[in-house]
């Protein structure tokens, strides 16, 4: 069932995917002095309305007013963040860029942060993390996500194929600490691979909108020239924005980009000779991040390297699989013994609510934070984040975190 990719929680949450029509917005907004991450303030009328509706919940008990208002306005909610798709663009063969208008519960984002996007496919809601790619200080209340279709990605493939204007999707508030610094560093180094371009694109656009002019090197790895997201806009910025240097690397088309091959010391020395003095932000596939970590550790510059990554959960595994089980609420961890989570939790001394212990009564339903579990009865796999599972019949497949 779902997209096998999940975010690794150990690192600050991050991103994937993004972008669409190249606009000139970022250049138009040069010179803006808004602080990084400023949030669009909600119109007063909307705030008063929301307040009044909460009071009115008494006559709408037990459901609340939201459940009636959404009869006529699906993107309405007084608590949930929902958004309407305003524009859709498909600028590369495998990606789709959507522009969303979140409702009044959205409180803005900082450049580099991500949101959890929920879409419904065949009746089932799927949630994935995507980083905002647009300028964080534009103040237009819009967000832009670029999603790259992953070969096994249920959500990304669905969006690439079916995303359309007018649809309502679910979001969470912006999350993550992989963000553009509050004050301008002497040298910014932004490195990304594939769909990992989105958070650093937001950083670049925001940096330009803030009028920062210190040197910035933008290194991007794409499979091919055609696959490179935001290529036109980046090339334009490299020509016109002060201090911006662009290094394009097309790993499947040697000789076509500015440099060739994968991240290594020699390559980085050529791409950004002052990298040992830079504040670096890296987002992309695991090997890229590993190389970056090794390079920066070798220089004792770990503190100046910021990373954002995602990992793939092994998929389709059957039978007992080793792994770590983390009980998030209790802040405990155990090594999985291949039994259902309920039994493992009880063995660890926890006493979660449970009922029939055979999967029918749903008393033990809990939220799966990260990882994948297999249903002991049906063999069905469920992957987090935020999936409701019955822990009495859910066997961990690999590392999982559960809200127990």
């Amino acid at each position: 069932m779902g997209d096998p990719s999940t975010r690794r929680r150990a690192v600050p949450p991050g991103t994937r995917g993004k972008r669409a029509r190249l606009t000139r917005d970022s250049r138009v907004r040069y010179g803006s002095l808004m602080p990084v991450g400023v949030v669009p303030s909600r119109p007063l009328a909307s705030r008063v309305l929301r307040r009044a509706l909460r009071v009115a919940d008494a006559v709408a008990t037990p459901y609340g007013v939201d459940r009636y208002v959404e009869l006529v306005r699906p993107s309405w909610s007084s608590t949930e963040v929902r958004a309407k798709v305003m524009a859709v663009a498909r600028t590369t063969p495998r990606s789709v860029t959507v522009t969303l208008r979140p409702n009044g519960n959205w409180s803005g984002f900082r450049a580099g942060q991500h949101t959890q996007l929920s879409v419904e496919i065949d009746g089932m809601r799927h949630t994935r993390c995507y980083s905002m790619a647009n300028c964080a200080t534009a103040g237009d209340g819009l967000i832009e996500l670029s999603i790259t279709a992953h070969p096994h990605g249920r959500v990304s493939r669905h969006l690439r194929q079916f995303a359309e204007r007018g649809r309502t999707v679910g979001l969470t508030s912006a999350q993550g600490t992989f963000t553009l610094p509050e004050t301008e560093p002497g040298h910014l180094l932004l490195i990304s691979g594939g769909s990992g371009i989105t958070p650093v694109m937001s950083m670049l656009r925001t940096r330009c909108a803030l009028g920062w002019e210190n040197p910035l090197t933008f290194v991007h790895y794409a499979l091919t020239h055609a696959d490179m997201l935001y290529r036109d806009e980046l090339e334009e910025l490299a020509r016109t924005a002060p201090g911006v240097r662009l290094v394009r690397i097309f790993t499947d088309e040697p000789g076509r980009g500015d440099l060739d091959g994968f991240l290594c010391r020699q390559q980085l020395d050529r791409a950004a000779p002052q990298w040992t003095e830079a504040e670096a932000f890296v987002c992309g596939p695991a090997p890229l991040m590993d190389s970056a970590r090794d390079l920066f550790a070798g220089q004792g510059r770990d503190d100046h390297l910021h990373t954002e990554s995602f990992t793939l959960t092994p998929f389709g595994a059957a039978g007992p699989v080793g792994g770590a089980v983390r009980f998030g609420v209790s802040e405990m961890g155990v090594a999985s013994d291949g039994r259902p989570l309920l039994l493992q939790a009880e063995a660890a001394g926890l006493a979660p609510l449970s009922g029939c212990r055979m999967g029918i009564c749903h008393t033990c339903t809990r939220q799966l934070g990260t990882g994948t579990v297999r249903d002991a009865v049906t063999g069905e796999l469920t992957t987090g984040p935020d999936a409701n599972i019955r822990i009495c019949v859910s066997i961990p497949v690999g590392d999982v975190e559960i809200d127990l």
Binding site: A58, V59, D122, T378
Partner: protein
């Protein structure tokens, strides 16, 4: 002692084969779940909400009899849909697979006095796991009605018919108190502290609903206060009597069997399925009837697969029936008048001492002796 399964000529191997057949059927339906099921339940939720909005609005014109009647009818419809096809089924986790928080059994709340959490515990767990096991399934007579010859008679049972009528009128309050379970507290089987917590939650919830129905909305209609209050009360009573009828037809009609604790001790999954079928009874009817009963008219299918979306029960009923036929397990179904008639008969019969309930013949004898079965 002969167990019920042995009396039906079923061996352990046959029960295991039965379990495999039902698991396969379950997998078949589960694989089909998708956008249609979600669209269906959302449509019903929309109908329910519009019925409520329309009903409340209509009562502002309640001084005109047709509007008063329409208002009361729309509110009755709203409450019945909310409690039966929507609330009962969502709270069973039938739509948890959608991962939509609005359809999640962990967050859903319904227009009924019993708080969802408490109801889920005693209904989803106690009742569905221990269906019709005397002493364990507290739904047998709801603690106030002697509905079976297995329970001891006492003079208080003479009031059976009156208790049943009373319970029917305030059924949602009855369910709330049923969850609190003062009976077990009195017998020292349940700590008072635990019951007190349930009682507090129950009173808070039912208080909120009563305030809404009997104070807020009547007050909003100003001079029509009493007219609106009467319509709200009528809607609650209609919902209560209807759900009482449907629910009492689930496990108490003639032919639905009870089990003892010892014969279910350490039972196999196959025996559990077997017990669910024998302890439940269906009601036949048209599509609207099934929707209004929350598809609890497919009580047998519901008890076999409590967390499969109820709209699918109608689809799998012929297969379930066919399996029952092959294994020689009676499949209890009949018109509402017949099923509820036999429940009323029992209510009167067991007001009096005695054990026999064989006044009406058992439904549907096995077509074939189970000995012809080959274990799969």
């Amino acid at each position: 002692m002969t167990t019920v399964a042995q009396a039906h000529g079923l061996t352990d191997e046959q029960l295991d084969a039965l379990a495999r057949e039902f698991e396969a059927l379950r997998a078949e339906v589960a694989a089909q779940l998708g956008a249609d099921d979600v669209a269906y339940i959302r449509r019903l939720i929309r109908i329910q909400r519009w019925a409520e909005v329309g009903g409340r609005a209509s009562l502002f014109l309640g001084f005109l009899p047709p509007f008063w009647l329409a208002g009361a009818a729309a509110l009755s419809l709203s409450k019945i849909l909310d409690n039966m096809e929507i609330g009962h089924n969502v709270l069973h986790g039938q739509y948890d697979w959608t991962k939509d928080p609005a359809l999640s059994s962990t967050t859903f709340e319904w227009d009924s006095s019993c708080p969802a959490k408490g109801w889920q515990h005693y209904h989803n767990f106690l009742h569905h796991t221990f269906t019709n096991i005397t002493e364990k399934d507290r739904d047998l007579g709801y603690g106030v009605i002697r509905i079976s010859g297995e329970s001891e008679w006492s003079p208080a049972n003479l009031g059976n018919p009156l208790y049943a009528l009373g319970l029917a009128l305030i059924f949602d309050w009855g369910i709330m108190l049923h969850d609190v379970d003062l009976g077990h507290v009195r017998k020292g089987k349940k700590p008072w502290a635990e019951a007190k917590r349930s009682l507090k939650n129950g009173l808070r919830k039912s208080g909120k609903l009563a305030f809404r129905d009997y104070v807020m909305w009547p007050a909003l209609t100003g001079p029509l206060f009493l007219s609106t209050l009467a319509a709200d009360a009528l809607a609650n009573v209609v919902r209560n009597v209807w759900s009482f009828i449907i629910i009492f037809c689930g496990h108490f009609p003639n032919g639905a069997l009870e089990f003892t604790e010892e014969e279910c001790e350490g039972e196999s999954k196959g025996h559990w399925y077997f017990r669910q079928i024998l302890g439940s009874a269906n009601i036949s009817g048209n599509r609207l009837f099934h929707i209004m009963s929350g598809n609890l008219s497919y009580q047998i299918e519901h008890h076999l697969f409590p967390d499969i979306p109820a709209r699918r029960y109608q689809q799998i009923a012929p297969q379930v029936r066919e399996i029952c036929q092959r294994y020689g397990i009676p499949y209890n179904t009949g018109r509402l008048s017949r099923q509820f008639g036999s429940v009323i008969f029992k209510i009167f019969r067991f007001a009096l001492p005695g054990r026999s309930s064989r006044a009406i013949p058992l439904p549907q004898a096995p077509d074939r002796p189970p000995s012809e079965l080959v274990a799969a």
